[in-house]
């Protein structure tokens, strides 16, 4: 996925990002491979570092990415909502990708429980911690009800609040609330069933 085409100059990304901000949805697909590596590395830095208890929003990460790429000129996204949606989607891609690679690399298979030398048992993953399973279940949900899947993507992968999610999707906060309640129950049920096997 991460192609680094030779010979392209920096202007390409800038143009695509501007197109993005102007509402061209396709631009997202095109620019993603170009910034992917960078986002991957940034995500890795956040994931690995010992941070304070302030949780990081995906939006902050993407914001920073844009700043870096565009040389400190923040691009004005068409709307905050648009920006939120884009960030959450990118974050999902990156995290799922990282999770997939880690699973492939780790010894002992996907659900192995390893005991670190300090003797503390690592519990088998609880449903929410298995990002790949959540992603797969989310794709299934999207086939039934795309809006609910988007709500989950925005809230879980994007870290957005109910209000921000409402803004991103152009719906009411109450609707987001209901969608979220239903989607959580549905996903939980789906994942528990998988887990039970």
């Amino acid at each position: 996925m991460s192609r680094r085409p030779e010979g392209r100059d920096g202007g390409e990304v800038t143009n695509l990002l501007r197109a993005w901000s102007d509402g061209e949805a396709d631009a997202f697909e095109q620019v993603l491979p170009l910034v992917y590596d960078e986002l991957h590395r940034m995500a890795a830095r956040y994931l690995v570092g010992e941070r304070s208890s302030i949780s990081l929003q995906a939006t902050a990460l993407v914001n920073e990415l844009c700043l870096r790429l565009l040389g400190w000129d923040p691009i004005p996204f068409q709307s905050r909502g648009h920006f939120f949606g884009v960030s959450a989607g990118m974050m999902r891609h990156v995290l799922v990708d990282i999770a997939r690679r880690r699973r492939a690399e780790r010894r002992g298979g996907p659900n192995a429980v390893r005991v670190p030398l300090d003797g503390i048992d690592v519990p088998a993953t609880e449903p929410g911690a298995d990002l790949l399973a959540v992603d797969a279940a989310l794709q299934l949900l999207a086939r039934e009800d795309p809006r609910k899947a988007q709500v989950v993507e925005l809230r879980f992968f994007g870290g957005l609040s109910i209000e921000e999610t409402a803004e991103a999707l152009g719906i009411s906060a109450r609707t987001v609330h209901s969608d979220w309640a239903f989607a959580r129950a549905w996903l939980y049920r789906k994942l528990s069933a998988i887990h039970a096997h």
Partner: protein, 1031 residues
């Protein structure tokens, strides 16, 4: 587009959620009608909603980050990276992770910093990083983290460095401010490290508190040189100007406030950028706040570029103007306005330090109690000071340290004035951080410890134990992890605003305190921190904290009980009166408790009251029953023996005895004597003995000793009939938060408390032969490697490694050769004290107890035995592991002697074994098995705890036939004289004219001078006099 059915399910689900839980089933029955599948679907969703708990409530990024924090990012424990085996993850940051690992070739622990994988187009940067890392690797400076190796692991570059214990400056700053001297010390060490790097053309580029490490031994190390080059990321997509020096866009994530303006702007960067960063760090150390702080990263960068931080002297009042000026200069926006080279900064900081310490600060005078010494030292200092105004200041400071401070530290330490030695060593080391000799003295007088309080954030200060004093030396603020404290008994004060200040006696290695708000402490009581480990053999642990009276109950307090009719009210007298197996009626029993004129009261009173002027004396002449009745009256309880001893202050250092009332003259007002206990109690030792609630064979324990008894009685158990009254019998009270478990309040058998070795017999020779054979080993080649050599004025040390006699292991030994004698040397082999099992590296071994041996012209062989220092084992030590350990020790000793036999500068016919602080008498076992030893010196040994017979000292003592000197402290409660020391001496198989038992006036720990006075003449006699080196 969701189907109709889907929408129906959703709709019903949401409506059902709005019903009260009980009503849901009915609601569903009603609304889903005959569609059972629909109903089941919704019910299962409702169930899922109920079970889901925190599912998805934390964002994916956080969840993932936690998982990675648990599992590690780049490697897992047990992986091989190069020739290193990965162990535990030590930490992680934006650049990558740091793991502890084992270098299998050299058998040492290292730290591996694994960086995040580099982008494929960054080959050039990676190569530049490796080049720089290799250069840093050749940088051998005490203030730069030693780099051993650099490599690549599956696309992730890594750096192998020494493994340090301590904390980053960032972590240190988070726990509280630094002292001015502390900040100066750190800044100077960092500056020196930078200087060494700059001289090699390396610029750090990312200096910040996270990259400055404060090691436990007081050295400051700079980490991560040159790593900034690797992370100046710029994707090829960005329009970055091509800049010489390789810096493009700077890394964000926290570094922003320390980067020089030219770095922020992306211009060329030279060593002066590091000076700026150091200025920012120094600013933060002095003021507690950052120099450049703005709204987010951009705001901070803007501040760096455009804003001038307020003067340090304005923010923090005790900063000298010269220092403020230095900081301002470091933080000049233009590099040309800063110090041109780090060396200039070092000189400037030095000058500030000299201003503060010449003439030496008044506290030095306060430390030296004895007037004669004080005068002498002051004269010397004045003499130096007088002559120095024209000298190069650095020289005079070094001279002071060498000619005055170092010998004085040694003298104080040998004389037993440990806290004074500690404080002086700290001062001297602050001035001369690189002095090897001072550093060793520092190790000898201190030990790393952990001080915690609940709640944290309390100020900790230490002072000399022997007198109540007002000159406290601050250590920092809790939690303190790895702070060095005096290696002996001292006075410690814990204080925090709003909470009751605690003052108690402290001893290493772990001090834990529970703080209470000022008005939450019961009047006259102190909090004793519980522990589930018993404080002595035979007692049980008391896990809960409890209150204990600070002082013994006084006459005045007891009078309240009497005046309020205490002797008439049956309510208070809850304990059954039993004598000789028969029950005594209440009236008869209480009728016995009368004073000298027949009125109800303590035996020491007359006419219903105490003698004039004795209100604050401890009440004496009371029976156990009266003490218990008073306890009921006061709403408290008599302490159990376990509670009493927990709080008493028993330890290796029995200094409390010398400042307690054993004067034989009579009781003293409570608190008059200085004998402070660990939790703030007074007079636990001496004054009056104290009744405990614990029963033993129909008597009750009476502990602590009284004024009219010998000092032994503090630690020795005593118990008397509950009716008995004597002038020295008194008590103090405790208060518990909940009822005591049966194990704690149960009676205790006296026999369970102390092993009486007098009653046991060693095994016969045929059985002993079986034991002996366990220890044998084959004399395989040693494969010796001399790892390091080091010299001071007193000795030359060879650190060697050779094959151990088991398990394919390697072991290490340190051989100290005296410089004041001629080879071949007599050699004393050491078996160390408990600190060897608690300190993690033999580079930090203490020489306090063997320095005098080396100075007497003898070599000192210090093997690193299994279980000590870097060979620490973490296996559970049960009876079988204990046996394996002793077998290992015996073989380690054998190997170490095998090694010195190969050296021509060692005389193998003159070897001695010195067992230091050897409670269980291990050295006796080793000697019985090692025929090459000529004499044995035991310090603090006795027949120890009962253990398996094949490792019981009792069985080996008769097989020791060589001349043996036993040194013991009379007040050693763990190795008591009658029951433990003397039996060992008697059992030793050496001819009577060749063994000697010297009992000194100490506890388990004695003072070096006193021991040296016995040991050196012993060696002169049994190893022979030393041939001094020709001058």
């Amino acid at each position: 587009m969701p189907t109709d059915r889907w929408q129906r399910v959703e709709h019903l689900f949401l409506e059902a959620l709005e019903q009260p839980a009980r009503a849901r089933t009915d609601f569903l029955a009603l609304t889903s009608g005959p569609d059972a599948a629909l109903r089941d679907e919704i019910e299962s969703l409702l169930q899922a909603a109920e079970d889901s708990g925190p599912f998805l409530s934390a964002p994916a990024l956080d969840v993932f980050a936690h998982q990675i924090a648990r599992e590690g990012w780049s490697v897992q424990p047990g992986d091989r990276v190069g020739s290193y085996t990965v162990g535990q993850r030590l930490g992680a940051g934006g650049m990558g992770e740091v793991w502890r690992a084992r270098d299998e070739r050299l058998g040492r622990d290292v730290a591996i910093k694994l960086l995040l994988p580099h982008p494929s187009d960054a080959e050039e940067r990676v190569r530049a990083f490796e080049r720089e890392a290799r250069t840093a690797g050749t940088l051998n400076h005490t203030n730069v983290l030693t780099v051993y190796d650099v490599g690549d692991h599956e696309g992730a570059p890594y750096l192998v460095t020494e493994c340090l214990e301590g904390q980053s400056l960032r972590a240190r700053l988070a726990t509280g401010t630094l002292s001015l001297d502390g900040a100066l010390d750190i800044a100077l060490q960092v500056a020196r490290g930078l200087g060494a790097a700059h001289a090699r053309g390396i610029v750090h580029r990312d200096l910040k508190p996270e990259n400055i490490f404060l090691a436990l031994d007081g050295r400051v190390k700079i980490l991560d040189f040159g790593l900034a080059t690797l992370h100046d990321t710029a994707s090829s997509a960005s329009p970055s100007p091509d800049v010489p020096g390789g810096t493009t866009r700077p890394l964000i994530a926290g570094t922003a406030g320390y980067m020089a303006p030219e770095q922020v702007r992306g211009e060329a960067v030279d060593p002066r950028a590091d000076i700026f960063a150091l200025g920012a760090v120094l600013y933060e150390m002095l003021t507690g706040g950052r120099a450049f702080k703005g709204d987010g990263t951009l705001g901070t960068l803007d501040a760096v570029l455009t804003r001038q931080p307020p003067d340090v002297a304005e923010v923090s009042r005790d900063v000298p103007p010269a220092l403020s000026q230095i900081v301002r200069r470091c933080l000049a926006k233009s590099p040309d306005d800063r110090f041109a080279i780090v060396g200039d900064l070092v000189s400037a900081l030095d000058a500030v330090l000299r201003e503060r310490h010449l003439p030496p600060p008044p506290s030095l005078g306060a430390l030296l109690r004895r007037p004669v010494v004080m005068v002498t030292v002051m004269l010397v200092i004045l003499a130096i000071a007088a002559g120095t105004w024209r000298w190069r200041m650095a020289t005079s400071r070094a001279r002071w340290a060498r000619t005055v401070a170092a010998p004085e530290i040694q003298r104080l330490s040998n004389h037993g004035d440990y806290v004074e030695a500690f404080l002086l060593a700290r001062q001297a080391l602050d001035l001369l951080p690189d002095d090897r000799h001072l550093y060793q003295l520092w190790l000898d007088t201190s030990i790393p410890a952990v001080v915690t309080s609940d709640p944290p954030g309390a100020d900790v200060a230490v002072a000399s134990y022997h007198t109540r004093t007002s000159s406290w030396f601050p250590l920092g603020r809790t939690p303190l992890n790895g702070v060095r404290i005096p290696r002996s008994l001292f006075r410690v004060r814990i204080s925090k605003d709003g909470f009751q200040t605690i003052e108690g006696s402290g001893r290493p290695p772990a001090l834990r305190y529970g703080l209470d708000p000022v008005n939450a402490v019961p009047s006259g009581m102190v909090r004793v921190v519980g522990d589930s480990d018993p404080i002595r053999a035979g007692l049980v642990g008391v896990p809960d904290d409890y209150w204990l009276d600070r002082f013994e109950v006084t006459n005045r307090q007891f009078k309240e009980f009497v005046d309020q009719g205490g002797y008439r009210q049956r309510d208070h007298w809850r304990e059954p009166f039993v004598e000789g197996g028969r029950s005594v009626p209440w009236e008869e029993a209480v009728g016995r408790f009368r004073d000298a004129s027949g009125r109800p009261g303590p035996a020491t009173w007359k006419s219903g009251t105490y003698a004039d002027g004795q209100a604050e004396f401890p009440v004496g002449g009371v029976s156990w029953y009266e003490a218990a009745a008073y306890a009921a009256f006061a709403g408290k309880a008599l302490p159990t023996i376990h509670h009493w001893y927990r709080a008493a202050g028993l330890g290796r250092f029995m200094d409390i005895l010398w400042v307690s009332n054993f004067d034989g003259k009579g009781p003293a007002p409570v608190g008059r004597y200085d004998g402070l206990g660990p939790f703030g109690t007074y007079d636990m030792a001496g004054n009056v003995k104290e009744w405990c609630s614990t029963e033993t064979s129909h008597r009750r324990f009476l502990v602590g000793g009284a004024w009219n008894e010998p000092m032994d009685m503090f630690a020795d158990y005593d118990a008397k009939d509950a009716f008995e009254r004597a002038p020295g019998y008194g008590f103090r009270l405790a208060k518990y938060s909940r009822p005591l478990p049966p194990a704690v309040s149960a009676p205790v058998r006296m026999e369970a408390l102390v092993r009486d070795a007098r009653k046991q017999k060693p095994v016969g020779d045929d059985i002993f032969e079986v034991y002996r054979r366990q220890y044998a080993y084959d004399r395989a080649p040693l494969n010796t490697v001399v790892e390091a050599t080091e010299e001071t004025e007193t000795w030359r040390r060879d650190t060697v490694a050779f094959d151990a006699a088991y398990g394919g292991e390697r072991m290490r030994a340190h051989l100290f050769l005296p410089r004041n004698a001629s080879p071949p040397y007599q050699t004393v082999v050491l078996f160390p004290a408990g600190d060897a099992f608690r300190v993690s590296s033999s580079r930090e071994l203490s020489l306090r107890w063997v320095d005098f041996i080396i100075r007497s012209g003898r070599a000192l062989l210090y093997p690193v035995y299994k279980g000590t220092y870097e060979r620490a084992t973490f296996e559970h030590i049960g009876p079988f592991a204990g046996r394996e350990l002793r077998i290992a020790w015996s073989r380690d000793l054998g190997r170490a002697i095998d090694y010195v036999e190969t050296r021509s500068d060692i005389d193998p016919t003159r070897l001695a074994l010195y067992g230091l602080s050897d409670g269980p008498g291990t050295a006796v076992i080793l000697t019985a098995l090692e025929p090459r030893l000529k004499t044995l010196v035991l310090q603090g040994a006795g027949i120890g705890e009962p253990v398996a017979p094949e490792i019981d000292t009792l069985n080996y003592a008769p097989r020791v036939r060589i001349p043996t000197l036993m040194l013991n402290g009379r007040y050693d409660y763990e190795t008591p004289f009658e029951a433990s020391q003397r039996p060992l001496f008697v059992l030793l198989g050496s001819p009577p004219e060749n063994k000697r038992h010297v009992v000194l006036e100490f506890g388990h720990a004695m003072v070096v001078d006193a021991a040296a006075r016995e040991i050196i003449p012993w060696f002169d006699r049994y190893l022979g006099p030393v041939v001094r080196a020709p001058r």
